[in-house]
Amino acid sequence: MPNYLARVIALIDYGSGNLRSVHKALLKVGAEVRVAQRPEEITGARAMVLPGVGAFDDCIQALGKQGLLEAARQFIQTGRPFLGICVGYQALFEKSEEFNSCAAGLGIFQGKVVRFPAEHGLKIPQIGWNQLEVVKPECPLFRGVPSGSYVYFVHSFFPQPADASIVATQTTYGETFASSVWRDNVFATQFHPEKSQKVGLQLLKNFVELAAG
């Protein structure tokens, strides 16, 4: 069995705009990537990446239509490494406030996705580079990524995990929010590692290595 098969990562394609960037970034750090549009294409993958950009409802509906919502849930339950990015992070929660959303998320984590409150007088969306405070230095995703590292954010919403113990990093933009979470082999980031230059590539490399076992 060629060694590279151990690294095959299923990258979920449900029409998300940032698919190509995530794909290229994963290739850059040595991953073998299979772009998956159907549940059967996920079978056998060592790890899964759920990218995302845009609206929560659109994302959930598109995933549901392709049968990928259930496939993602099942994949996560097998304990294999999973990485959600941006809306792919938000999708792990139960629901969102976006555009009076009525779609139900995966519910892997308890909590809902909320909008930045207006009262801080800050510009919303948060568009730009911001710093990570690594609260779980033992999280393998953040190996070699120290607190204070800058990563790229583009979002108006963020999840509020009911269980604070899953928070891996936090970031402050008016208020402090969970910029990434980690539990077992489930990792998810509000920021875009595929757009965060060296820091982002380091993080993806960590994930790929984890997937390679």
């Binding site: 705009g17 190509r20 845009g54 230059q197």
Partner: protein, 247 residues
């Protein structure tokens, strides 16, 4: 960009007159700025023709394949499908200008499909009276009769997640940004405002962020011609107490 090459007009309108200076391959420049630690890259297709679009998609793809940083693309994008094509090519944000003026609902359609954070409305404004800035479309050739501040507010209410404000009077002059209109728009809207057009010195960059209240600053010529590196700008801004991501 024009015919797949990065160009720089001295002021709007020069492009058609053949006054563009060709400054090189966009992807090579993108790689250079990526290395220099730019926070974001913006590609504008100033020709906005069908052929230009195809070239643009290739440029965005090639840049996105090598530069793992935020990319904004604009120029001649008239539909949600056009936006999607660019996003799939690797763009993170879509900038619309004349098409948003012609069809303001395109802002809402784009925001509902891709999220507000994805939709940038670019405004070309010219000072037409002591206290009035008017919006121009079609590469600043066509007056709309619209007040720039009012248009910015409307664009945001329709779902724009960012405003790029380009002062037609200042663009390409290297004489400094129009601080007054930048500040007015920045204070009138709750989304980030990017100042564009007029950067000639490091001091200009600092003053539009401080006095102009811009959230970010965009420059082309000074980087293309090697006057300053991204690092020069960032170091200067830090010296002025402006928070930036260190290179």
């Amino acid at each position: 960009m024009h015919g797949g090459q990065v160009t720089r007009g001295v002021q709007f309108g020069i492009a058609e007159a053949g006054g563009l200076r060709n400054v090189g391959d966009p992807v090579e420049l993108a790689l250079r700025y990526n290395e220099q630690g730019a926070d974001e890259m913006v590609f504008f297709d100033i020709t906005a023709t069908a052929h230009g679009r195809t070239t643009m998609v290739e440029v965005v793809e090639r840049a996105a394949d090598q530069c793992f940083m935020p990319l904004t693309v604009g120029g001649g994008l008239r539909s949600v499908d056009d936006m999607y094509t660019m996003l799939r090519a690797g763009a993170d944000k879509i900038s619309i200008n004349s098409s948003a003026i012609a069809t303001p609902d395109l802002i809402r359609a784009g925001a509902e499909k891709f999220g507000s954070q994805c939709i940038v409305v670019s405004i070309d404004a010219r000072k037409v009276a002591p206290d009035r800035w008017e919006v121009f479309s079609h590469g600043s050739r066509k007056a709309t009769g619209w007040d720039a501040v009012e248009w910015a507010k409307r664009a945001v209410s329709l779902g724009a997640g960012e405003i790029v404000l380009n002062s037609i009077d200042a663009d390409g002059t290297k004489a400094g940004f129009d601080l007054v209109i930048t500040r007015r728009i920045s204070e009138a809207v709750g989304v980030p405002v990017v100042a564009s057009g007029g950067a000639g010195t490091l001091e200009h960059m600092a003053e539009v962020l401080l006095e102009g209240k811009a959230d970010a600053v965009l420059a082309a010529s000074i980087f293309h011609f090697g006057t300053y590196t991204v690092g020069d700008v960032k170091n200067f801004l830090v010296s002025k107490g402006i928070p930036v991501r260190p290179v």
